[in-house]
């Protein structure tokens, strides 16, 4: 009883303390809003952070047992690399005030002037592009950081089972420092694309396509895994070693997306976050069904790998338009995304672009599709109430937005293709990007790390 009283008193003190801070700022209501918004933004960011586990398990499940340690290592280290890269310079380039191309102020270590959580005209600082959200600077930073980490980790899947560990680590650093933040500045940091009216609510282009283009260049420069194509040039199946782990990852990513999309409001706005949760979930559900149906009809059996990829495809596709479209539209977007992802997997296989986990089909193809969906399905009333912008898509009377979305897709493609090509090329010349054939055959776990994922088990693999 006494203990309860003590706790009660402590709680009361905290509440009064919070109110006291509010009184300094002017009104108590503002302070409560800042507190709630901050909690929402941080919880959402933590969900997005959790997606690292999703990527780790999806990718390692879809790969072979002999490369499992390597894939898990890549996924673990990539978030550490992005955290530091984004802190050193990435954040400043993305959100610092500057030109239409890149940020110039407050570049290093978040050292620019800032008086968050002040917003609008009250904001006095150098990160004005993100001053619309009333949360402390470090909450903004953490939320944006986990997005940067997601873009970097997308590359990991497409280059899996053959990339050199050290080259991948350095490429991830490049992603966090100058590939992701520049496109991010254009779209979200007050750059030229945002001035043009380009809309990408939670990052179909900024996060997923950017990661996808970088992954495409990596996969093409590495070439296919040994044994992926027969002497006749036909693709061969290289089955993943643990679909239980891949399924776990699929669910973790799905959960993480409830932070990714609704969290991008960066405010606990009840109408907006509820709307976005439902558009996000509806698109995922529709895409799961359409991807499963497509694989069933096209390939003869309902392929679990395609079902999981379908879910992710729907989530990526709804990422840009989640705050601008109706729930009915999100259903249509999801249905199309699920079909697209299966066709894209078959397409890349035939083009001899070896992508062991389907990262290109999920993040690149559906990232582009989702971005264009803003220009097709956006409805003015929803965009205004949920997304805070006045736009309408082609199907709802606005042709201009579609053109703007196309420009955004093309510009980000060009920038990422060029910069990631140069980065991969320099790495190739300096360190090499692919492990030796002998190492690839025995597995990167032993070659790169000198250890196995399933010590004590006999793994029967002949490819």
């Amino acid at each position: 009883m006494r203990r309860t009283l003590v706790y009660g008193a402590a709680l009361l003190a905290v509440i009064c303390g919070a109110a006291g801070v509010g009184a300094d700022d002017g009104t108590g209501a503002d302070s409560v809003k800042v507190t709630l918004d901050t909690i929402w933004v941080l919880v959402a960011a933590m969900l997005v952070f959790f997606m690292n586990l999703g990527f780790a398990t999806v990718e390692s499940g879809f790969a072979r047992a002999k490369n499992c340690v390597n894939i898990l290592s890549k996924n673990f280290i990539v978030f550490a690399i992005s955290s530091l890269g984004f802190l050193f310079l990435g954040w400043g380039l993305m959100f610092g005030d500057g030109t239409g191309f890149m940020g110039l102020k407050g570049l290093w270590f978040l050292t620019g002037a800032d008086n968050s959580p002040a917003t609008g005209d009250a904001y006095k600082g150098v990160y004005s592009a993100i001053s619309w959200t009333g949360v402390p600077l470090l909450a903004k930073f953490f939320f944006q950081l986990v997005f940067c980490g997601t873009a970097a980790t997308i590359v990991s899947g497409a280059v899996a089972e053959r990339v050199k560990y050290i080259s991948f680590i350095i490429f991830s650093f490049a992603m966090a420092i100058y590939i992701y933040p520049i496109v991010g500045h254009w779209a979200w940091g007050g750059g030229w694309l945002s001035k043009l009216g380009f809309c990408d609510f939670a990052g179909s282009t900024v996060v997923h396509s950017v990661g996808g283009w970088a992954a495409l260049v990596g996969a093409m420069m590495l070439g296919p895994r040994i044994g992926k194509y027969g002497p006749d040039g036909k693709p061969r199946a290289i089955p993943g070693h643990n679909l239980a782990m891949a399924t776990l990852g699929g669910f973790v990513l799905w959960l993480g997306w409830f932070g990714f999309n609704p969290g991008s409001t960066m405010a606990a706005n009840p109408t907006a976050i509820s709307h976005i949760v439902i558009t996000t979930n509806t698109a995922a559900a529709a895409a799961i069904l359409s991807a499963t149906a497509t694989s069933w009809l096209l390939l003869g059996k309902p392929d679990l790998g395609m079902t999981i990829n379908g879910c992710l495809a729907g989530l990526v596709a709804i990422t840009a338009p989640c705050a601008y479209v109706s729930v009915a539209s999100s259903l249509i977007i999801g249905l199309i995304a699920g079909v697209l992802v299966v066709l894209a997997v078959l397409f890349f296989d035939r083009r001899h672009i070896d992508d062991p986990v389907g990262a290109l089909s999920v993040h690149l193809v559906n990232g582009i599709f989702g971005t264009l969906c803003v220009g097709l399905f956006a409805e003015k009333s929803i965009a205004q109430a949920v997304g805070g912008v006045e736009i309408s898509g082609l199907f709802f009377g606005g042709a201009r937005q579609f053109v703007v979305q196309l420009i955004g897709v093309a510009a980000s493609a060009l920038y990422v293709l060029v910069t990631s090509f140069i980065t991969w090329l320099v790495l190739k010349l300096a360190l090499g990007i692919r492990v030796s054939a002998q190492e690839e055959i025995r597995g990167l776990d032993i070659g790169e790390h000198g250890m196995e994922a399933y010590s004590g088990f006999q793994i029967f693999i002949t490819q």
């Binding site: 040994i226 029967f460 002949t462």
Partner: protein, 113 residues
Amino acid sequence: MKLIIAYIQPEKLNDVKQSLYRREVYKMSVTNALGCGQQRGYHEMYRGVDIEVNLLKKVRLEIAVNEDFVEPTIQAIIEGARTGNIGDGKIFVVDLLECIRIRTGERGKVAIG
């Protein structure tokens, strides 16, 4: 009747199967094996501590054949499994005393073929 036992590199199994098929040898048993020969395994580390001799992953093939098929089978395995590097594997040929097909009770050459 002979029993041909071969230890090969796992990634060569597909090539060996194909060269066996070309010589009309369709029946085989394949199991997972661990072992080492001249290479003496490989080196591994676990959390900073050495693990010295590790057995390498191999595949063991067992094929029972009649006399006419002994040479073609050996040639097929060599053709499919040879890279010229240490670790390509070995083939053992042993006499087979009897062979019985469980379903019919047939014995000897008919049971193998």
